[in-house]
């Protein structure tokens, strides 16, 4: 009986163009956009050119400060600040009038970097100029100390090296946040039309009454409808992940390297699918309740919007956390555990204990939500308009 109802609901759902578009097309578009955006971002980091406006009177020695920075192009202008305002450069370097003479006489020389913090390019360039000036500053200090007969290493007691933990880099971190966010949104949006249709829609069209007068237990009806919503969500999740994997493997070069899992590739993909299935099931329980509450499809969709918004909060909370900072609660709280687990998986970490915590907590929440749904579904008030 359950199988009959489930198969009919699936057939009905996938004949709905809206469901079909949101289940297949939406993840393809979202994930394709994300993949190419990040591929371009990663490849641009090395090749992108930045224009720095400098004074026409700047001498060759000073221009030499930027020799090591191949992606900084110097734009000479009578007024560097005006050149910046005109959009001819992303930042401007303003030197004091007697800059060269002050340096040679050992005085303090004034230098100003003008940039625009709202522009990413300008911020990157300003930071590069600051690094170049810092190197130049150190060379001046060394020259002045040598001239005074002192050892320049006295003012450099530390040799600081900085490197990222394991293979963790900025691009992987961003992907670890964005993949679960898009996955959760795709699963939510993909399964919400089906959810709204299966309860509120049936009440609105009066097919619910026709179902309720058949000798099928209400619990069977409820479970098969929940299973349908979860299946639609799972299909959306798998399509989303498949698009990511296929596009990264076949269409990208840099992302392929950033997300290289070696021997663990299939384990990680399998676990990512498992995590998506768990989330789709949890999401189906929430959407089921929203749909039982709604008297019409429109009303059910209004209730399900905040449910879909819930996925945004863990993304915000976890964006500042490193993978080594994730603790029990990050894996125990539903929705948040999707983000935490996928974050780990993107970094190539497989922790079965964390997966078990997430699985158990989601299962408990699903059972509670299902009991609430069943209690509502047994009452005339919630099944008939």
């Amino acid at each position: 009986m359950l199988l009959n109802i489930f198969l009919k609901e699936i057939k009905d759902c996938f004949r709905d163009r809206r469901t079909l578009l949101l289940t297949v097309l939406l993840p393809v578009i979202m994930m394709t956009g994300l993949t190419f955006f990040y591929e371009n971002m990663i490849s641009d980091n090395g090749d992108e050119k930045y224009r720095l406006a400098v004074s026409e009177s700047m001498n060759q020695d000073l221009k030499g400060i930027f020799t090591g920075f191949k992606n900084i192009d110097l734009v000479e202008a009578a007024d560097p600040e005006a050149a910046l305002e005109d959009g001819k450069a992303e930042a401007a370097l303003l030197l004091g009038k007697s800059f060269s003479s002050q340096i040679s006489t050992g005085e303090k020389a004034k230098v100003t970097i003008v940039g625009d913090t709202s522009s990413q390019k300008s911020s990157v360039l300003s930071s590069m100029v600051q690094t170049a000036l810092s190197v130049y500053e150190k060379s001046i200090i060394a020259q002045r100390m040598q001239a005074n007969g002192s050892d320049p290493s006295l003012v450099e007691p530390l040799e600081i090296q900085q490197r990222e933990m394991a293979d963790q880099n900025e691009n992987t971190t961003l992907l670890a946040m964005l993949i679960p966010l898009i996955l959760s949104i795709a699963i939510g949006i993909g399964s919400s039309p089906a959810a709204a249709d299966l309860f509120a829609g049936e009440k609105e069209r009066k097919t619910m009454e026709a179902l309720l007068i058949t000798p099928v237990k209400r619990s069977t009806l409820l479970f098969s409808k929940w299973l349908t919503i979860a299946t639609v969500g799972t299909v959306t999740g798998i399509v989303t992940l498949a698009v990511v994997v296929v596009e990264i493997q076949m269409l990208t070069e840099h992302l392929k390297k950033a997300l290289s899992f070696g021997d663990q590739t299939f384990t990680i993909i399998g676990l990512a699918v498992l995590v998506s299935v768990i989330y789709a099931m949890f999401n189906a329980s929430l959407l089921m309740l929203a749909s039982i509450f709604g008297k019409t499809v429109k009303e059910a969709q209004s209730y399900s919007t905040p449910v879909l918004m819930l996925a945004m909060f863990p993304a915000m909370g976890l964006s500042s956390k490193g993978i080594n900072e994730l603790s029990f609660q990050h894996f125990a709280i539903p929705i948040m555990n999707l983000f935490s687990l996928l974050k780990e998986l993107v970094f190539g970490i497989v922790d079965y204990q964390h997966i078990l915590i997430a699985l158990t907590s989601n299962l408990i929440c699903m059972i509670v939500l299902f009991i609430i749904g069943r209690m509502m579904f047994l009452k005339d008030k919630w099944v008939m308009n």
């Binding site: 009986m1 026709a210 000798p215």
Partner: protein
């Protein structure tokens, strides 16, 4: 046989209770066709829903074929077919055949039984041409025929029709009337609510008249005509309502 005993149904509307049925008692014998008459809001649909196990009576009890609708609802559901008026309760994205197959499976019919039943019903209602088309594109008359076929798919012994000819054209209404005649010949027990008095006097053995949730009359049509001294059911119905209102006013 359907036995309705002292049934009261109250609905909670915000903080107030609305009484839709007040101590309704009547019996429908096996093979009888009963017309349920009443104005809008008289309680006809609530009564039919209560018999169909969709609503639980606040007080009283209903038995269908000897089964209590509250204690043995599944046994009742197996024996009744219900068609509610206005909405046909069909799935637009499924074909007429798929709709019928789905409901047949819910009633536990085998594939062979389903096929035979669909063949019989589609022949009876002239649905063969559009049996494999999706219901979404059907006219109201076509939908109503499929809905009636769905109601009868498990060959129920008791059938409840709630304003079944509402919105139907003359041809479809006639098809429905012929169907009721045929079902009557087959010995089915039928209750149907209607606003069309000619239809009721043509098809029914007896009538039940409802007014503001109360049963104001139940009995044989011929006896009613004799008592009222008229064969105009419309006139009798209106005079019963006037008497009912006077009773409320006093």
């Amino acid at each position: 046989m359907i036995e309705i005993h002292e049934v009261t149904k109250k609905f909670q509307d915000k903080k107030k209770f609305v009484t839709a049925l007040k101590h309704v008692t009547f019996t429908v014998k096996e093979g009888q066709v009963v017309g349920l008459l009443g104005e809008n809001g008289a309680g006809k649909t609530t009564l039919l829903r209560t018999i169909a196990t969709l609503l639980t009576p606040t007080e009283g009890m209903v038995t269908v074929a000897g089964f209590d609708t509250m204690k043995n609802s599944n046994e009742v559901k197996k024996r009744i077919g219900v068609l509610f008026g206005g909405e046909t309760g069909l799935y637009d994205r499924l074909t007429a055949r798929e709709n019928l197959e789905y409901f047949a499976s819910l009633y536990g019919l085998s594939k062979h039984e389903t096929k035979v039943r669909i063949d019989d019903l589609s022949r009876m209602f002239g649905m063969r041409d559009y049996l494999n088309r999706r219901v979404g594109g059907f006219s109201k008359g076509m939908r109503q025929k499929v809905a009636i076929a769905r109601t009868l798919i498990h060959n129920p012994e008791i059938i409840l029709f709630d304003e079944p000819t509402t919105g139907l054209d003359i041809t479809s209404s006639n098809v429905f009337r012929q169907l009721v005649h045929q079902l009557k010949r087959e010995g089915k027990t039928i209750i149907f609510s209607s606003h069309i008095m000619e239809e009721v006097s043509m098809l029914c053995d007896s009538v039940a008249m409802m007014h503001k949730g109360e049963l104001v009359y139940q009995g044989n049509l011929e006896s009613l005509y004799k008592t009222e001294g008229s064969r105009d059911l419309n006139y009798i119905f209106m005079s019963k309502l006037v008497r009912g209102n006077e009773h409320y006013a006093s």
